[in-house]
């Protein structure tokens, strides 16, 4: 196109000013179009490329469709749940067990409530343990399958007043070896029953019988309830104060009294540790004051003298440490400020003392 047949004969050797001006304007117009297209390319609705989560969160509740396990099961298993994930509002305590029944299930009676005075009416002798842990109130309800009244789920919601108390009663009731579940701060499952603690609540969701179906329903009830419970998430003191290294997970327990079966050991956290092939118990307690701590130490010393032989007593400005041979195994106890701690039933004295000293070193007075 650029080659001209007769170059010499072309009379358009000179281009008029108008033509040049128009040409320039057209070139600018093209440049402008290019820029405009590039700019337009950067403006787009991002939800086209990424599904909007706000839209997702407003999805219809699961009411219309059964919650599925891997495959469909007979009718009782296809029970439906009120939507767990949608618009959960923390309910005020009175309503925590309302509307908990899956579709096809119903509460046997109204939700019942028990105080410290009436707790024994519901759980007899076991009430004492809860009362030790400063129990505040129990709310419970029994859910039953409308089509098969032999299937039931009992829900017990214990308000223990403080997270440490809720954890305490959870930890002393826990049996070793049961599969853990992620419910609340910690939880586990036994057949179709679920146990967990969250904030100041300790919860038992007890399902009848066994099998994947009832397990699933129980789990859903537990989850729904769990979402309604408030928890500020602050870690418990004992979890951080007890050393973490080599600690056997799930072994921490909080005793409000009679820790390690010693009647003077109150408000004590104990945990198991792995040392080589052996398991070692370590304990730690924050006493109300230096005096009570000293008194406890004295009691412990008395216990050591009565049932064993004191090997060493060390006193410094910061702490007092006593180690004793309790008949084949060693106990080491120390007091630092208002803290009492130590190790129990360790076979090797030097290892016991080292462990106790390590614990001491990890502590600060105002922990």
């Amino acid at each position: 196109m650029l080659a001209r047949g007769k170059r010499g004969g072309c009379a358009r050797a000179r281009i008029s000013r108008t033509e040049t001006a128009i040409s320039c304007m057209l070139l600018l117009l093209m440049a402008g179009i290019g820029v405009a297209i590039y700019a337009k390319g950067q403006i787009y609705d991002p939800s086209l490329y990424r599904p909007e989560l706000t839209a997702l969160s407003k999805q219809a509740p699961t009411e219309a469709h059964p919650v599925e396990s891997r495959t469909d099961q007979p009718a009782s298993a296809g029970a439906q749940m009120p939507a767990p994930g949608v618009g959960t509002q923390p309910a005020s305590p009175p309503g925590l067990l309302d509307n908990l029944a899956p579709t096809g299930w119903k509460p046997l009676e109204n939700v019942t409530h028990f105080t410290a005075d009436t707790l024994y009416e519901k759980i007899d002798g076991r009430a004492e343990e809860y009362l030790d842990y400063k129990f505040v109130g129990l709310t419970c309800v029994s859910l039953v399958n409308a089509q098969d009244s032999k299937q039931f789920i009992d829900v017990y919601l214990y308000d223990m007043g403080q997270p440490a108390q809720a954890f305490g009663v959870f930890s002393v009731e826990r049996t070793e070896g049961l599969p853990a579940v992620t419910l609340g701060r910690e939880g586990y499952r036994a057949e179709a029953s679920y146990f967990f603690w969250k904030g100041r609540y300790y919860v038992q969701v007890l399902g009848s019988g066994k099998g994947a179906a009832i397990e699933q329903i129980g789990l859903n009830v537990a989850r729904t309830l769990e979402k309604r419970l408030k928890d500020d998430g602050k870690p418990l003191w004992g979890f951080k104060a007890l050393p973490e290294k080599d600690r056997i997970p799930g072994s921490i327990q909080y005793f409000v009294k009679d820790a390690m079966s010693l009647d003077f050991m109150k408000e004590t956290y104990i945990a198991l540790y792995r040392k080589g092939d052996a398991k070692v118990t370590a304990f730690l307690s924050k006493q109300p004051s230096g005096e009570t701590a000293a008194k406890t130490l004295a009691s412990y010393e008395g216990h050591m003298k009565k049932y064993g032989k004191v090997a060493e007593k060390r006193e410094t400005d910061a702490y007092t440490l006593i180690s004793a041979d309790m008949g084949g195994a060693f106990d080491v106890v120390f007091r630092k400020g208002n803290l009492i701690g130590g190790v129990s039933m360790v076979e090797d004295l030097s290892m016991a003392e080292k462990a106790a000293l390590d614990m001491l070193a990890g502590l600060r007075d105002k922990d």
Binding site: K6, G34, K58, T71
Partner: protein
């Protein structure tokens, strides 16, 4: 370096064909962003006018066609030689294979002579517009922009990718590429016989713009005093518009080559004709042929609708992209441009041949063997210039948020072929279909059965079923089914939400 208008025109052609190829390349998930990749189709006046005839509305961005339409009314068919990428392609190929030297002058003069049968494009246009008046949009078959992008999508880009691997992540193929590709090659090759063959003989858009040029104020003007009838202005005349005698306004492509080629400077671009018999404003059409063309358009519509593919005999394989309008309206809107097929990330959209009837040639249908409809994707609707596929959000497609009452968009329903399904017919575990079903809760559920197999062993099989209330026809189950030749679960069109007529369940 002077700034003559022909130079600028050349730059403009390169710019716009570059832009068109750029759009064709970036029309895919990773690059698309907000680029107006269907811009050429949206400014195409034929697409705008024909679709407004069929639907009685002007869809969204088609209003941009005024940007081409209005200047055409003033300046003539500048679009054909300044913007149209297909025109540029023809001109380039013609130039490449022409005899450019001084010895070819006579040949070139002869090839750029006006021929009577260049009027064919007007008859084609009329036929198509009459068909449009009755509700069938067929301009897409020969509209140059639609043809250009469609050919790129279906034939050219897959071929380029086969050679280089630059276009797709995993290679895309399109059925009937063996038809669309050769058609493109044929039209382009015809430039060796007659330059700008397609533009002069077949292009309905060119015909439309030619008719609109009738009222144009500016045109090529020949100064009779200077002209010595050497006819050298025909050397590179693109439109074969007889600038050497009475200019055929409807054929002139405003390429300005004649201005450069005239040795006497007798040609110019001016507003008012010095004498009226210097221009032929209206194309050379015979009334009989016009009526014949119109009748063809009408009969085409009647006979194709009478074949029943839209209504009674609708084919189960014709599943349209999500967000499509119901079939009669779809055929009023689809310009067969192939943009949806290009942007679709899974290669499920394929050009139909006759599955959707003769009106539906090259319209998009889903082929689940080749792909499936990705759940969180509505890209096809974003690039559709005419609204055959509506621009829906992902929330609307899934039926969530504010669209919960409306429910999800369904393009069909899946059905099991229990004679081919492994756990149903062959005592073999599988349920890939259930695994990949993207809906929650899954639209495929299962029941466990215990059977004794042929060797006397008790085995448990998981047998799948479709829940039609939940299935949205996306087809990933069919796509992933291991019975690869003829899948044991197949999606068909019934149950699609775009058509009440084709629904399956009572709401």
């Amino acid at each position: 370096m002077d700034m003559r208008i022909t130079r600028v025109r050349l730059i403009s052609q390169i710019f716009f064909i570059g832009l068109a190829l750029f759009f064709a390349f970036i029309t895919q998930f990773s690059y698309l962003k907000g680029y107006p990749v269907s811009l050429f189709l949206e400014v195409d006046p034929l697409v705008a006018i024909a679709s407004s005839i069929t639907t009685h509305t002007l869809y969204r961005s088609l209003i941009w066609s005024l940007v081409i339409l209005i200047p055409t009314l003033v300046l003539g068919r500048f679009f054909c030689n300044w913007i149209c990428p297909y025109g540029t392609l023809h001109q380039f190929v013609g130039w490449l294979f022409s005899n450019r030297g001084p010895r070819g002058v006579k040949e070139r003069l002869e090839s750029n002579r006006y021929r009577k049968w260049f009027a064919l494009k007007y008859y084609i246009l009329i036929g198509m517009l009459v068909a449009a008046a009755f509700g069938s949009l067929q301009i897409g078959l020969l509209d140059p922009i639609c043809l250009f992008f469609r050919s790129l999508t279906i034939s050219v880009l897959p071929a380029v990718d086969m050679a280089s691997g630059w276009i797709y992540v995993q290679p895309f193929v399109y059925q009937f590429a063996w038809v669309v590709g050769p058609i493109l090659i044929f039209f382009v090759a015809m430039n060796l016989v007659i330059p700008r063959f397609f533009c002069r003989v077949l292009c309905p858009l060119g015909a439309l713009l030619g008719l609109l040029s009738r009222v144009s104020l500016w045109r090529i003007e020949r100064d009779e005093q200077r002209c010595d009838n050497c006819k050298l202005c025909l050397q590179r005349c693109q439109g074969a518009s007889d600038p050497h005698t009475a200019l055929r306004k409807s054929e002139c492509l405003v390429c300005f080559n004649c201005l450069d080629d005239c040795p006497h400077g007798a040609l110019g671009f001016s507003m008012l004709p010095s004498s009226p018999h210097h221009e032929v404003a209206v194309p050379d059409l015979s009334r009989r042929r016009v009526i014949f063309a119109g009748l063809t358009g009408l009969l085409f519509f009647s006979f194709s609708r009478a074949s029943g593919e839209i209504t009674k005999n609708f084919k189960k394989e014709v599943m349209r992209p999500p967000g499509s309008t119901a079939e009669p309206e779809f055929l009023e809107r689809c310009a067969k441009c192939g943009q949806c097929m290009r942007v679709c990330p899974t290669n499920v959209l394929q050009p139909a041949m006759l599955e959707a009837g003769v009106e539906g040639i090259w319209t998009p249908v889903m082929n689940m063997k080749m792909g499936y409809c990705e759940l969180n994707c509505t890209l096809c609707g974003q690039v559709c210039p005419t609204g055959a596929i509506q621009k829906i959000s992902i929330a609307q497609k899934l039926g969530v948020g504010e669209f919960t009452d409306l429910g999800p968009v369904k393009t069909g329903t899946a059905f099991f072929d229990q004679g081919r399904c492994l756990p149903w017919a062959m005592d073999t575990p599988c349920v890939v279909c259930q695994e990949v079903c993207p809906i929650s809760p899954k639209a495929i559920f299962s029941r466990e059965v215990e059977i004794v197999n042929r060797w006397g062993k008790k085995i448990t099989l998981t047998r799948p079923f479709v829940d039609p209330t939940l299935c949205n026809g996306c087809g990933i189950c069919e796509h992933e089914c291991p019975v690869k030749d003829y899948r044991a679960i197949r999606v068909t069109a019934v149950g699609e939400t775009r058509s009440r007529d084709r629904s399956l369940l009572l709401k």
